[in-house]
Each structure stands twice: as C-alpha cells, then as structure tokens.
C-alpha cells in the first residue's frame, strides 16, 4: 500500500517498524469508524501490540492523530515542492499546485480522507499550536511562489483572502466528493480542466 511508503519516508529504519504498524492500523481504524468512535483497543487489535505500547510511542490518542496528520501534511508538502520546481510563470505554478494536490489525493486516498476529518480535531486539540505554525509556513511559501514580478498584475487584482480558495477550492471539492463515494472518476483524471479552471477564475477576477 502507498501508505507504507509514506510512513517509511517519515519514520525510516527497522526499529521504527512498530511505530509504522501502529500508525497504519490507526489510519485504517479512523477511516473505518471515525475519529471519536475509534478506540485505542480497536487499534491495538489491528496491529497486535499492547495498549501500553501505543501510549509508550505516541503519548495518547491525540498524539496518534497528530502524528498521522503531520505525516500527511509533510508528504503533501514534499510533493508540492517537487511539482513547483522548474515552473517559470505564475500560470504554470498555479497549475502545479492544482496538479500536485490532485495527484497526491489520488495516490493517497486513505491519508487524504483522514486529513479531512482530522483537521478540526487537530486544530482544537493540544497540537493546535504546531498546526498553526506549519500552516503559516506553507502559506508563506505559496505566497513566495506566486509572487512572480512579470505576472504580478494578474494576481495582484485578486484579494489575498480569496486567492487560495480560487486556486484549490474546486479541486478540493471534487476530492471530497470522490473520497465520500459521490463520484467515481479519480481526481487526477480532471487535472487539466481543474488547472485551467483555476487560472480562468483568477483571470475572471480582474
């Protein structure tokens, strides 16, 4: 499974095998039953270890959720950076952002589904501060990417608050629909039209 690879990137080495097993089991449970309804016992059964061990490695349930969430965030960021590299224009970068997003969700549907349902839990839980921090960093990074002097005119006319929603809103909406089974076609099938739509939306704002 693709999750295994993500986890191995994040927690490499033989000694972290158990950590990866626990996270993998937790992800499956959270997606099956939801965050709150999943019990530590559910996870324990699925990865065949002891309750104490789970707590030994992740502190508590919130810690487990946060570890998984940041894991997804990191992997998504890695791929986004890859896609943006080598783009020259603002238009190409907007397209890269859309493509990166759609490809990642298509490749990691489990993590993506988890991310959607865990966002608010992490944002309110004890790891809220770290999440806010990472979000700030990501936003700064994205803003830098789009600050292209040549095409600044195009983007400058769009209100800063609105820009992220214009770029990623439709892609995210479709991904939600796909993950909840309301549509069948995998997100990356619509990469082209969604990237074009994003750029057209920006243009329409002028």
């Amino acid at each position: 499974m693709a999750i295994q690879e993500v986890l191995e990137r994040q927690y490499p080495g033989r000694r972290a095998q158990l950590k990866r097993d626990i996270l993998s089991a937790a992800l499956a449970c959270f997606n099956d039953k939801g965050l709150e309804p999943t019990t530590i016992e559910d996870i324990r059964v699925r990865c065949d270890t002891s309750v104490g061990n789970i707590y030994h490695h992740f502190g508590n349930k919130d810690g487990l959720i946060a570890a998984l969430y940041f894991c997804a965030l990191d992997d998504q960021a890695r791929q986004r950076t890859d896609y943006v590299k080598g783009t020259a224009s603002a238009e190409a970068r907007v397209a890269a952002l859309v493509h990166a997003y759609l490809d990642w969700v298509t490749a990691e549907p489990e993590l993506a589904r988890f991310q959607f349902q865990a966002r608010s839990a992490v944002a309110q839980g004890p790891n809220a501060a770290e999440l806010a921090d990472r979000n700030r960093q990501r936003n700064r990074q994205v803003r830098e990417w789009l600050a292209d002097p040549e095409q600044l005119g195009q983007l400058a006319s769009v209100p800063m608050e609105l820009l992220p929603s214009l770029i990623i809103g439709q892609a995210e909406s479709y991904c939600r629909a796909w993950l909840s089974g309301r549509v069948q076609s995998p997100p990356d099938r619509f990469s082209e039209p969604l990237a074009r739509a994003a750029w057209a939306s920006i243009a329409a704002c002028r």
Copy 2:
C-alpha cells in the same frame, strides 16, 4: 438571532417553543464543543429543561443532530429556490446558485458551521437514508435548472461529475475558511467575483 427565525419557520407556533429552545441550545453546544464531546447534559443545562424532555422530543442524540441538520438543509433549499426563480439563462442560474450559497452562509454562520461538521455523522448514522434521499432530490432539481436548451452547449461539455465542484467549490472553500476564522471578510462580499469565477471555470472546460 437569525437561528431563531429559521427555527420558527421550521417549527412554528407557541407549543413548539420548547422544541426550538432545545434545538437552539444544541446548536450552540455542538459548535462550541463538537458533536461527540457535547453531552445531553450540556444541552440540558443550556436550555434549562430535563433530560427526559429532550428524549421525549427528539428520541435520542442522533435525532437531535438530524433535526438540526435537516433544518439547515431545508432553509438552504428554500433560499436557493428563491434565488433561482426568475433567472433566464444558465449563466444567471449558476450565479444564483453561488449567490444563494454565499448569502445563506453569511446569514446563518452557526447553522453552516454545524452543517459542515455534522454531514459525515448524519451520513453514517441512522438517518443516512433520509439524507441520501434529500440529496438525490436536490441534485435532480439543480440538474433541471441547468438543463437550459439554449446554452446546453456550454454545460454539456463539462463532465457531469465535475460540474457541482466547478460551481460551488470555490465558494464552499472560502466559507470554510471564514467559519474557521482563517479569513475575515464575510463570504457575501465576494459574491460577484466568485459567481464570475464559476462561470469562467465552466467556460474554461470546453
């Protein structure tokens, strides 16, 4: 408060006052603490009645959540229908859908916030069937509205699966950001650009 009016439309009359009080208290609690963390006792304290009374009127916690959720759904549908009335072209209808959505969320932030967090709970709970039913009806309705023979060409080239996301994705994305405090400007402030972006997105798909 705006919620009071929505509740009075849904549960009119003096005799339903207690019902409205309970729903109002429940909404506040759910938004404050989240769905699962809110206890019946929390709600009871907030509307100063007895546990038994809440169960008498709504059966159980899921019933309470469903009542509130369908209440939001109905009110949103009512406004959407109002906005679409009198529109002649597909473009005008797309704009009406976007405006209706943004205006409703701006007017009922509490209900909107609840709706976002309760969707998956209702979709999995004992009222899943009714929810699916209502969603089907809404989708059929929207499809009828957009089936304008004259402009069919424009829309026909857009994959059916993608259309809803193209129309409402960006608006929804911005509303989520507003409800979680990530942006300040109320959604209806961007009604114009978001409606234009939706139509431009459709055009870009051809």
Copy 3:
C-alpha cells in the same frame, strides 16, 4: 453502628438513605484497604448500587472522601461544643477539650481512623480550601474558649503555637496507638490522667 447515627444527623431523611449507605460502605472500605487502594468498584459492591449512582451523588472519589471527612469534623465539633458548655475555668475547658476528644474517638473509632489517614489527602486535594476554612474557624473558636481573663496568666505564658500540641498531643498519640492496635485499653479509660497531664504541661511551661 455508631456511624449510622452520625450519618443520620448529617444527612437526615428517608431520601438520603442511599447517600448514607454509600458513605457507610466507603468508610468501611477505606479503613479496610486504605484510601488509594480502595476502588469505586469496592464501594459499589459493598452498598449494592451502581457506579454511576455514586458519581451522581458525590461527583468523584475525592468528593466522597471529603464528604466523609467533613462529616467526622462536624460531629467532633458538635461534641466538643457540648463538652465545653458549662465550664467556668480555663482548667475545666482544657479538660473538656481532652475529654471530648477521647470520648469521640472511643465512640467513633471508624471515623477517627479514617480521619487520620484522610487528613493529608483532603489537605492536598480539591477540597483543600474548604478544609483550611473549617480549620481556621475551629481554631478561632478554641482560642476564644481559652481566653479566660482570670486564668489568662497561666495560658499567656505558653507560646500560642505550642498550646494545641500541649493540650491534645498526648491524647492524640494514644488514640493513634489504640486505632492501630498497639495498645488495648480504650482511650476514654485514660481521660482523667490525660486531662491532668495536659493541665500540668501548661503549668510546667511557665
């Protein structure tokens, strides 16, 4: 049992029967196994009710301990006040304090044993403030009783800090020994010599 009477004085009426039953069972358990080792389940079994009911009536384990502790404190205070009434001299009052203490411990060994082991727990737990309050009141009361103008000379020469220990120290020491089985004779058997010793100690301090 004597405890029943104490509890009926503190929680009178038929409707409080369950409350009394729970407290009575808790007292027995705490004395049998110690404070920490006693589980709510132990208590539940002993009074044949449900866990939830215990929490319904006392909030939590600390609440149960505090209720029992303050019950003992109140009963002891009541008897002390009775004994002091009608005494005319400081000497008679010192004797009354000693007699009251010894008679109470002899009559309520269970409560007394509990009191010794629960004191520090209550003093550190969430009811510390109320305990401090009650202790202040008791100290003020005792100081007033002993502020006899005629015999002030005798007591005035004793440092305030030392006085309580001089009066009650030996009696308390013997009661501890009795409650832990190190001696056999009931405390009230030594009321006379202990009262005389207390007064002699004060005299020896001049």
Copy 4:
C-alpha cells in the same frame, strides 16, 4: 543537604553513590506527590537513571519505601542512643528522649515527613514483619532505659500503655504541625518546655 549525610552513613562508599541518588530522588518525590501518586518513572527522571536500575537495586517500589523508612528509623535510633548515654536519672532520660526526637526532626524534616506518611504503608506492606521487629526492639530498649530503680516509683504509677504517649505525644504533635506548615518555629526551639511538660505529665499521673 542533611539527607545526603544520613544516606552516606547508611550506604557508605563510592559504589553506593547510585543507590544514594535513587533514595534521595525517591524521598523528594514521595514528599512532593505522596507515596501512591509517585511513579517509578517520576523517580527515574529525578535521578537520571533507568527503570531497570531502580528495580535492580531495590526490588520494587515497596522495597524502595522500606529502605528509606528503615534508614530514617536507624538514624533516629542512633541519635536517641547518643542522647541517652550519660544520663543518670529517669527525668534526665525522659528529657533526652524528647530532645533527641525534636532535634532529629528539626535536622531531618524531609525524612521525618516521609516517615509520618510511610508508616502505615510499611506496616501493611511486605516489610511489615521487619518493622514490627524493629519496633519491638526499640520499645524494649526504651523500657530498659526508663527502668531506673531509684525513680521507679514515679514511673511505676503510670500505665505502661500510656507512657510512650505521655513522653513523646506533645513533641510529635508539634512536629506534625511544623512539617505541615501550620506553625513556623522549628521544633527544637521548644525542647525545654516540651521536656518539662513530659516529666510534669508523668508526675501528674500519680
């Protein structure tokens, strides 16, 4: 700190440094949080060793508590014996007992505080037998010291059960008050009056 010296007397040599560190850390934890609430992990953090090491040296938590308790007992006995040496009369010996007690508690408040709270735990735990044994020895010793033929008359009239409380009760009471912060003056400040009170109490018993 004074505890270090006591521990070096009890566990001398360089090789026992770790043992002393563990005991020192344990004492601090037990006094900070109480016996039961203190975890092996708390102690481990404070002396920066491993869990396994603590178990290697003391067997288990009870062993740790017992080691600390007997350490206090031994040190107290040593000082008591010192003080009694060279006394000729029963009165002088009673005074020596009182002085020894007050001086030791004043010098070792940490150990004394621990001793008060650990007594019942040790008396009920797996080291109960050894504790009973040591208590018996101490009592026999004290009885021998006080069996002064010349002044036997004075003491003989006091019931054997009552004697220890008469001698040490007030001192102990004051020490408890000091250790729990209810009074400020260090116990040894009242050595003279408390020794006189003890002897006067005995005299008052005739």
